[in-house]
Subunit: 209 residues, 2 copies
């Protein structure tokens, strides 16, 4: 299709499409003589992905570029794609925040051991993010008890199991990689929304009991 | 204490402290003759709270103002404080995003009913946030199965139970309100970090099995 059709189908303005091509987020269309450039369904699909990461994931253009680069690596093992995507996404969560304290990192390491999680988890980017949250609670005057952390860890395994089950249900490796990335971004928003609703539910249950 | 001591104790520059006072985030200090203004531990405590919401919660100054106003309402019932805080915090998650589709809202309503959550949950601000995530998955080409949503809902109840147990363990109502607000912001970051680690754990388990 030509660019005006891509604009109609994707809902993305032509100037924005050209910006994404310049920034390397979107492959250039194919020149087919004269001023005509052809775009394919792959372009339309990628535009939807970019939009989801921008609007719901609140990622910067730079982070989206890193995530898409991870997606485009051919034949990367699933665990690698997850890790690259997680690191790119982590920049959003961690920007402007000071390094976590050694004490908070120790608490997350102890949690990983209590939960019986794989040894490689100690290198995961989420360790620093979780430790920053523990520090921020402490700075605000709350020392989180282990039971609180363990409740969150238990919930995290359930969410990750749902994530991996969804990814494992796909046949095509590039679809799997894409769902991993999209799911990592959008799953955070889904969790956040459902946590709010569940807080209302648990509050009303406790008021009644 | 005078302002230079408040700066030392809180790590917040004097110009920032004065900005917070002008914006209504922080009560003014007490004039005690001449140019001397006295600040108390309550100021120091509030500065720590503001910092946690800014740095880890990534809230705007406007949203922090709304959250603090909810905190400062005397004798508000717990469920009300939660709701006001949730709505102020929701502006962060929902900004720039289009309204959720009726179809996605129906799916979240069906999930609330399947989970057996309280009827009031249908009015919770998290419903729209979760529905936006469902729409974004669909726009990116993935129709989430009910089993995925139910796995997330199950995890959300566990997290909310940990939240309410922590709040219920406090004796002072103003501490409870504060933990609700701080916990709503910081708990999202804690969840996000632990979800990343749990994804690494579940991935390595599945690769071994």
């Amino acid at each position: 299709v030509i660019i005006s059709e891509l604009v109609d189908r994707s809902g993305t303005p032509a100037a924005t499409i050209k910006f994404y091509v310049r920034e390397g987020l979107l492959p250039a269309g194919e020149r087919v003589g004269g001023n005509r450039t052809e775009y394919t369904e792959a372009h339309e699909h990628r535009l939807r992905l970019i939009r989801a990461m921008l609007e719901v994931g609140k990622l910067s253009i730079g982070s989206i570029g890193q995530v898409l680069a991870a997606l485009d690596r051919p034949d990367a093992p699933i665990a690698d794609t997850f890790e690259v995507a997680q690191r790119a996404l982590a920049r959003r969560a961690a920007s402007d925040v000071s390094e976590p304290s050694a004490r908070a990192l120790d608490r997350i390491d102890a949690l990983i051991d209590r939960a019986g999680w794989a040894a490689g988890c100690h290198d995961n980017v989420g360790r620093g993010i979780a430790a920053q949250a523990v520090d921020a609670f402490a700075n605000a005057g709350y020392e989180l008890p282990d039971s609180y952390l363990d409740g969150y860890a238990d919930a995290a395994v359930r969410v990750a199991t749902a994530d991996l089950t969804a990814v494992g249900g796909l046949a095509d490796p590039s679809d799997m990689a894409e769902l991993m990335v999209v799911g990592t971004v959008l799953g955070d928003t889904l969790s956040l929304g459902l946590r709010r609703i569940a807080q209302a539910h648990v509050t009303s249950e406790r008021l009644l009991s």
